[in-house]
Amino acid sequence: MGTIKRAYLYVTRKKGKSILLFFILLLMATFVLTGLSIAKSSQEEQRNLREVLGGEFQIVTDLSDNNPYAKKTVDSEGSVELYTEYPITQKVIDNVMTIDGIKSYNAETHTFVSVNLDVFPGNVPIKAEYNNLIYAWSVIDTQTTNFFQSEKFKLVEGEHITENKSNAAIISNALAEKNGLKLGDTISIQSDSTATAKIIGIYEILKPDPLYENIVTYEKAENQIFIDFQTLQNLFGNIPAGFGSVTFDVSDPAQLDNIISNVKKLSTIDWRAFEVTTNNETYLEAAAPLQKVQTLVITMIIIIVFVSAIILSLVLTMWGRSRIHETGIFLSLGIAKVKIIGQYLTEVLMIAVFAFGFSYLTSNTVVNQLANELLQQTASASKEQTEIVTQINGYSSDGISISVKDSSSLPDASQQQKNNVDVEIPAVGTETEETQLHTTVSTCSILQLYIIGIAIIIFSVGVSTLTIMRLKPREILSKMS
């Protein structure tokens, strides 16, 4: 008779013991699986949080004395102009983008220009000299600007300004209509120098300015114009044109410091000209309660595993004593020790397969309540953190950018998309049901349970058979008579 058949007979004939063992294993598995599931979900939440929050850093032109390229001019009227001879150009950006972990960038700059057009006047009285000035946005790709990303504007005619365009402009349909312009017409733009640009695209305003709000001329949606980078350079004349600042988005804020230090190592860029600034405090603070849950749960799992191993070892050792006789018989029949231990192990494993499987149900019911309680306890420790996480929650559900940035910089394309994805963020005490830490028992956790469980069983069976197996068969047989 084979080992498995013997084990099967024992398990099926000694029903009382099998049922008891089933419940012991079920209890053990429920604890372990619950712990594993909470650990996994808090890990996932951390990752989600990181993805949702993202991370960013900015490269800003340094106009202080530290920058050897910084220049200062004073014109005849005494107004001072600061500029740099080493601005942030596409080349600089391309170099930075070679670093791993940077998802995207957002580089735009706007400058006051006057155009040979009849613009829509604002309803705020300003100095006459500003009345005809409007914003010209210079970008690498107009599609990536917040105007188009947030669907405030929509291109209805022509095409977007992309990297290789020159002398190109996009204006609003309102402005085009008012001035009788169409695609292909040329406008003249004036700043330090004068430049001409051909209208290659016309946009429509999907979200108009609030009706009764006070808006200056250059802020009116109808008056925004977009020009390519070359045109911007033409406007600047001899001063090299560039971006004042570029925001780089990284997908994992935990990697932010690493990425920045890699960026700063780039030898192709003279870092005396720029400053690198960052802020991932939001992420760190939001992640802290989850990190605490994680540590707590892992400690718990370790304790559960130890206690389980001890309890199981004790139970099996106790039962092993009553099986000394049986062991002696098997030995006297010439059944190898390994096969006898194999039988005892198989018995427990047979029951464990069912108990572990069943623990999926028990654990699932335990998991949700426990998870939330845990998170609440941990998080309520810090009111400040609570507020931050709750705040993030609110933002995300509204589909608004949740990255913390200067008010001037705006979320880029991928960030916008991310916010549309329904990502759950842990609720901390104050939120409603739908924002609870969502935990389910995953296949991965079950697999881990089987590995941990089988290890515990092997250990316990080993311990429980240790004393028996050291004895000689004659000693075992004489012990029983």
Partner: protein, 209 residues
């Protein structure tokens, strides 16, 4: 030619007291041997050495001229020797069929039936059989293991006289008809008389009578 040979065996328990000193014996297939001896003379001890449950302090046991330690005691117990005990030593969660099948090398059912167990009895839990029936199961297990040597330590000790006689007859038949080497330890001179050869263990020595 002898199938089993015991050479200059010496055995003492850990407390130092010598139980067996210089045992020499030869056993042949097809014969039943009875070992007599006073209580405490060391019969069980000797049988456990021959059965490969323990090793002698000195001397050697040869199966077909080869020291049984050569291939290991587990191999020896599995293939060459079967043990029958006074307390039957059956597995309590198995039926007679399953008990016999534990080490069976041939079909167990005809053997169990030949030993007088009914179709119903062979499927019952062994603990629900009478002592005589249980001992028959133990013998069936030994016979289905198909080992050339069968050792029995007071196999009839717990049984009434009639049952004891039938058990001894079964063992005798096994020796004569199945060509087994059967060694039976007993207290009963009557039963010993059934054996082909009777040996006596006295003061650590084994001699024929």
């Amino acid at each position: 030619m002898s199938i089993l040979e015991v050479k200059e065996i010496l055995y003492a328990y850990k407390n130092g007291k010598s139980i067996l000193s210089n045992i020499n014996a030869e056993f042949e297939a097809g014969k039943m041997y009875a070992i007599l001896g006073a209580s405490g003379s060391g019969k069980t001890t000797l049988l456990s050495l021959i059965g490969g449950l323990d090793v002698p302090k000195k001397g050697e046991i040869l199966f077909e001229q080869e020291n049984i330690l050569q291939r290991g005691l587990e191999y020896y117990r599995c293939n060459h020797v079967s043990l029958i005990f006074q307390s039957y030593n059956l597995i309590d969660y198995m039926t007679p069929i399953e008990n016999a099948e534990l080490t069976a090398k041939k079909d167990v059912l005809p053997i169990l039936e030949r030993l007088g167990l009914t179709c119903e009895e062979v499927k019952r839990n062994v603990m629900k059989l009478s002592g005589g029936q249980q001992q028959r199961v133990a013998i069936a297990r030994a016979l289905s293991a198909d080992t050339p040597i069968i050792l029995a330590d007071e196999p009839t000790g717990n049984l009434d006289e009639d049952t004891a006689v039938s058990i001894i007859n079964i063992l005798k038949e096994s020796a004569h008809k199945l060509n087994k080497c059967v060694i039976v330890v007993t207290h009963s001179n009557e039963l010993a008389a059934q054996a082909d050869i009777v040996l006596k263990l006295e003061r650590g020595n084994l001699h024929t009578i």
